[in-house]
Amino acid sequence: MKRGIILGICCLLALCLSSPNVRVSSAADEILIGNVSCLTGTAAQYGISTYEGLEVAMEEINAAGGILGKKIQILKGDDSADPRQAVNVVQKFITRDKVLVIIGAELTGTTRVTAPISNGAQTVQFTASATGAGLTDNLPYAFRNALPEAYAIPFVVEAAKKKFKVGSVVIITSYNLDYSVDLTKIYEKALAAAGIKVQDKISYAEGDIDFSAQVSKLKALKPEVVVMTGYYQESAQLMIEMRKQGINCPILGSNGFNDPKILELAGKAMEGSVWASGFFPDNPDPKVRKFVAKVQEKYKKQPNQFHAQAYDALMIIAEAIKRAGVTESTPENRTKIRDALAKITDFPGVSGTHTFKPGKGDAEKSVFILTLKGGKYALLD
């Protein structure tokens, strides 16, 4: 008897745990778009921001009557920032949910392993935030509107050279994070091109909580400028520890610096950092003002680059679906959508104007060089 009850409870629990992924509505009257993203784990903030951006775009599109008379529905798939889990999510989207388009993943590592799978299944995968090198190369179905670091970093290095007259830098890398290792290489190339020396390199590991040893080592080097290549959590802790130990030099950062969470964690320690962004929230453009107001109203927070690029991604995809004129998920239709997407030029978004050049999945767009001034994001003068 008792055993039966326990067994029953277990079954019930198992059901509860598995149900969020079960699709309730039929695909016939809706356009299904899968969003593979990191909603939990160390980079969760990126995934949450991205999803919120998508939701704003979805509501806007659906309120205007949807695409070709059908409403959009976004399916969430959490990959916990783990490439293995991301593969499972994408395979489920393709084989079970039969989504029309996949948006994601957020991270370079998870996108690198999933984009080839979508490509093989003739499904467009559009990442709005992964910035690692070469993610869309040789994959005709892979697209992105994030600023690839390789595209943005040279702008940061040039701006820093002009502003700080820097002769050498120290680079800090998370040695077991492929995003950080990639970014270090990109920085090295851009620095070499600008004639700036790399004085030394310092590394840490993902999940580290103590950075005092690295920072003491950094202090002994007396750096002119420090380059940080990790995610926001560790970068924020490094900044705090640096200021604590009395290193006050400027910091050059990356895409991760766009998340307000880093500012919240690091506070004053972030002052004077310089990085590139595809989105500037104080942009006077009315489109941007409207978008910022919407996000603030709905989520009570300032939108960041991830919100903006995700919003633009769904808007661009909606445009491509409209132009292709198909909504049913068949290989032929998905290829039509891909072809329409590849031909989009001068698409006005909240994160700048997007143009896809023939044979390239990376959108070309404008770069903003930002800094933190008096606790606020500002354009670097």
Binding site: Q45, I209, A213
Partner: protein
């Protein structure tokens, strides 16, 4: 730089030692590993964080709260995943605490969010110059609390009646029971003490590195485990020395080699120690 790195190593090592003490106490008494100890460490930090942010308590009371909260959690862990399985097999409680650890970590992610949160209080970050050593007030506080607790714990286990009962229980559950020691209660109490130490360590780490996250217990738990293997399973002095040893080795290998070698160096050294002394630094040969 060496002086600075030694201070860093001492601070890191003393928090490791606190975590390892909790591990070793439970192992010493039950001969079993509590894999959820890292999560107790993390939850201790969160309890303190909540007390400071929501309850507007001072950091002192938050520290006490983190300690008491962790102790209560530790007792729950004992009741839920140790006691029902104590006589089943050696493996069952081991697996159940691994499960509990995953459960607690995920629960923390759901409740507190996956990202890390900052402690709003910051004890002044100014540094004092003591000869070649540069040490912050916070580091002094951490060292004082860690070493203070280690001293209190030593006295507790060696001199008090309850401490003696714990040691007797660790010799033999059965004999201790025959001699009239309330074994169940002593075990529960050991979990409370062990978890309190873990909770304090969590608060201190959260304060020092200014970040509390649901994943912070994972690596610390693993390290605590390695420390007690190094120090000798169940040995209290071994846990303290092992913790400090690991702290120094890690910090120095980051300072003088590179971070990528840190864990490799730390674990290679442990391997060497175990080759020479298979029972660990302070372990004794059992039976």
């Amino acid at each position: 730089m060496l002086a600075q790195q030694l201070v860093n190593g001492l601070t890191l090592g003393s928090t490791y030692a606190l975590v390892a003490l909790g591990f070793t106490l439970v192992f010493g008494i039950l001969g079993m590993i509590n894999f959820a100890h890292g999560e107790i460490f993390m939850l201790g930090a969160y309890i303190a964080l909540l007390l400071v942010t929501m309850g507007k308590f001072s950091i002192f009371w938050a520290l006490i709260g983190g300690m008491v909260g962790a102790a209560i959690l530790g007792m729950i862990v004992e009741r839920v995943s140790f006691r029902p399985l104590r006589n089943v097999s050696i493996l069952a409680p081991l697996i159940s605490t691994i499960g509990l650890s995953i459960f607690l970590r995920s629960l923390a992610q759901i409740i507190f969010g996956a990202e890390s949160t900052r402690f709003p209080v910051s004890i002044k970050t100014e540094f004092y110059q003591l000869g070649p050593f540069q040490i912050s007030l916070l580091q002094i506080v951490i060292l004082a609390i860690s070493f203070g607790l280690m001293a209190v714990f030593q006295v507790f286990i060696k001199k008090t009646k309850v401490g003696k009962a714990m040691r007797a229980t660790s010799e033999s559950l059965f004999t201790a029971g025959l001699l009239g020691i309330p074994v169940d209660r002593i075990i529960l109490l050991s979990f409370a003490v062990a978890s309190a130490l873990g909770g304090v360590a969590g608060v201190l780490v959260g304060l020092n590195f200014n970040a509390v996250s649901p994943l912070m217990g994972k690596m610390v738990g693993l390290k605590g485990l390695t420390i007690i293997i190094l120090g000798g399973m169940g040995n209290i002095t071994g846990a303290m020395v092992g913790g400090l040893f690991l702290g120094f080795v890690e910090v120095l290998s980051v300072g003088y080699l590179t971070s990528s070698y840190r864990d490799a160096v730390a674990f290679a050294l442990m391997f060497l120690v175990l080759l020479i002394r298979p029972t660990g630094l302070f372990g004794r040969v059992v039976r």
